[in-house]
Symmetry: C2
Subunit: 377 residues, 2 copies
């Protein structure tokens, strides 16, 4: 039985460890012992180790016997941890979504002869895989992905629950968004160009520009129009824009009665309890991908619709993100993907067998992408 | 020529000093020398003194020769300053709108045999005067006052400019609002019960519960329904409710990376530049008072409408608040009002001659209350 070490036992890391434990000998590592005890209670088959993965020696020790390492660390730790894992010749699947350029690790991974799959969640993740698949099989004109992780019930004012740290979520509301239009890179303010989109059974959501394309901007230069938008319940983004405009998201310290303070830090402090997914609260994931272009001489359009909700105590964001990551672990374990170097998810979609394997793997866990193909006559 | 000392040379205090200088020998006092220099440039007839009015000795000195003292200090300084002025046997007109119970000064003022007119602006102020007038002449069922000081042009997101300190404005959004319904005192959350009201030439405004009745709750026990609401451009209060809900208006210190900070202090710091009336920016004051009841055996309804805007470089809030205050100074100077003790403005409205004098005084400055009387047949 192959050995897999999962770094990070947060909501997503925990679900990954449990899912992988049915096929692998899994070790889960976290600095937070409570999270580990909770995981151990739910799934005694997973071995747990408390360690600080920011420490090179401790990291080395916990991955020593692992055939594959899964990175579910916070974004700010991701790049450095990956670099160290590659230096240790580990095969990696990572969902830390670190802000650094992922190709910055490519040379090292090739030198060390290991495949390193990054950004392998739902978005980024499945969007890339689907685009990567079709990009090999048709001439794509437009790629559009809209995606949102939301609480099932709406609570004023934010109608939002973060399963990640609020400061990382706020980053999405501040960082300029990049998309590709008519072959040119366009940079727009985050939260811009809101549009209402209707989803059967969910209702109307509001999509806005977020910086979600990441590696696609580099790896898919032939598609002239590519955009990803994040979704919230309508109204939320207006409040966020007001907070941003007022200065509450600023990293610039201001003098408050003689004390220098970064407004973002107070904001994170105040919003954390507001945005926390409460015990028993359910979440949903909604994603729609539109791809159109020319295939076999015909104008075709593919629409992928994902609607998922919390099931069997596992939150939807952990299901949609985590199980995609698990599928990639199986690809590595089965040597279905072996190319050394950094692998953004769009590379996984190139191979028909791998693509179908991933969709099937997710379907078996009831994460279902409903595909509609329409051909213009 | 009688001597008047005006304490405070802010936007309103300055307009008061200049207006009074045509009839009195006026001294303006402020701790801020820039404000005094500005006033001196505009009106050399006004004598200026820099002094700290929180200091008992300095206060005593600057009012030594004054026949009448006008208080335009920030709210938190008002009560103590008034107390000291009364102890010095000074006649006072005050618009500091201090939070303490104004009748707490009544006994002392009676002992010292001086009239002390407080809350004598536009709201509180003219609303009280108008209610005081009609309350003597009819059986009132309902009194409703809606009032707002607003920038003439609307700027997203707050569409608001504060001529007072933002922290005092925020107080309005936090302090529970009291009104009288069917003879009972009702306490409601601030910003509650929003309603849209249309004003010819201004458009639709949004009125909400604020704690504006003040002395009327005590002095007019016979009117079963009394309410005052503050107005903003529609939408603003939703943003304010979100800020309040998030905790940004809280006075409770929170730990931000080891530093204890009151969210309200950061908020005041961030909002001050946003809410500041910019040079050249114009403001307006909109007020509507509805009074209905029985007069001479008939059901009658009075509506008072005030629409005022910045004129001749004097902002509207200074005109509507300051000139009401000036009219009261003339009442004292002419010995038209002489009753010792604390005098909330509704007392000034009781006397027909005084009431007409005040309306006329304001009309001469183009602050016009348009009165409509309708009699139910």
């Amino acid at each position: 039985m192959k050995k897999v070490t999962v770094l990070g036992a947060g909501l997503v890391g925990k679900a990954i460890a449990i899912d992988l434990s049915s096929h692998f000998e899994v070790t889960s590592v976290d600095v937070n012992n409570e999270a580990l005890m909770e995981l151990n209670k739910q799934c005694p088959a997973v071995k747990t180790i408390q360690a600080d993965m920011g420490d090179e020696q401790q990291l080395k020790q916990v991955v020593e016997n692992a055939h594959i390492v899964v990175g579910c660390l916070p974004g700010f730790m991701g790049f450095e941890a990956n670099k160290r894992l590659i230096a240790l010749k580990k095969k990696v699947v990572d969902i830390s979504f670190f802000p650094e350029d992922l190709f910055g690790l490519d040379e090292l991974a090739k030198e060390q002869n290991v495949p390193v799959i990054v950004d392998c969640g739902v978005a980024p993740g499945m969007g890339n895989i689907i685009l990567g698949y079709h990009n090999e099989r048709m001439k794509i004109y437009n790629y559009k992905c809209v995606v949102g992780g939301l609480p099932k019930t709406r609570e004023w004012p934010y109608e939002y629950s973060a399963v990640f740290s609020p400061i990382d979520v706020i980053e999405e509301y501040v960082r300029p968004a990049r998309y590709v239009e008519n072959g040119h890179l366009v940079i727009r303010e985050a939260l811009s160009d809101p549009e209402h989109i209707h989803f059967e059974g969910v209702g109307t959501l509001e999509a806005w520009n977020s910086d979600g394309l990441r590696s696609l901007i580099k790896t898919i230069p032939n598609v002239p129009n590519m955009i990803e938008k994040t979704m919230r319940y309508p109204g939320t983004i207006e409040y966020l824009r007001v907070l941003r405009e007022t200065g509450y998201f600023s990293y610039e310290p201001v003098d408050v009665n003689g004390t220098m303070i970064r407004p973002i830090d107070l904001t994170a402090k105040l919003l954390f309890p507001k945005w926390k997914l409460k015990p028993g609260q359910q979440d949903i994931t909604v994603m729609r991908i539109d791809i159109d272009g020319e295939e076999n001489g015909k104008e075709v359009k593919y629409v992928y619709d994902l609607y998922d909700e919390m099931q069997d105590g596992v939150i939807s964001m952990a299901r949609t993100t985590g199980y995609t990551c698990c599928a990639a672990v199986h690809l590595l374990a089965n040597e279905m993907y072996t190319t050394p170097g950094v692998c953004p998810p769009e590379y996984l979609g190139i191979n028909e067998k791998n693509f179908q394997f991933m969709l099937e793997f997710l379907k078996n866990r009831n994460v279902i992408y409903k595909v509609t193909k329409s051909i213009q006559k």
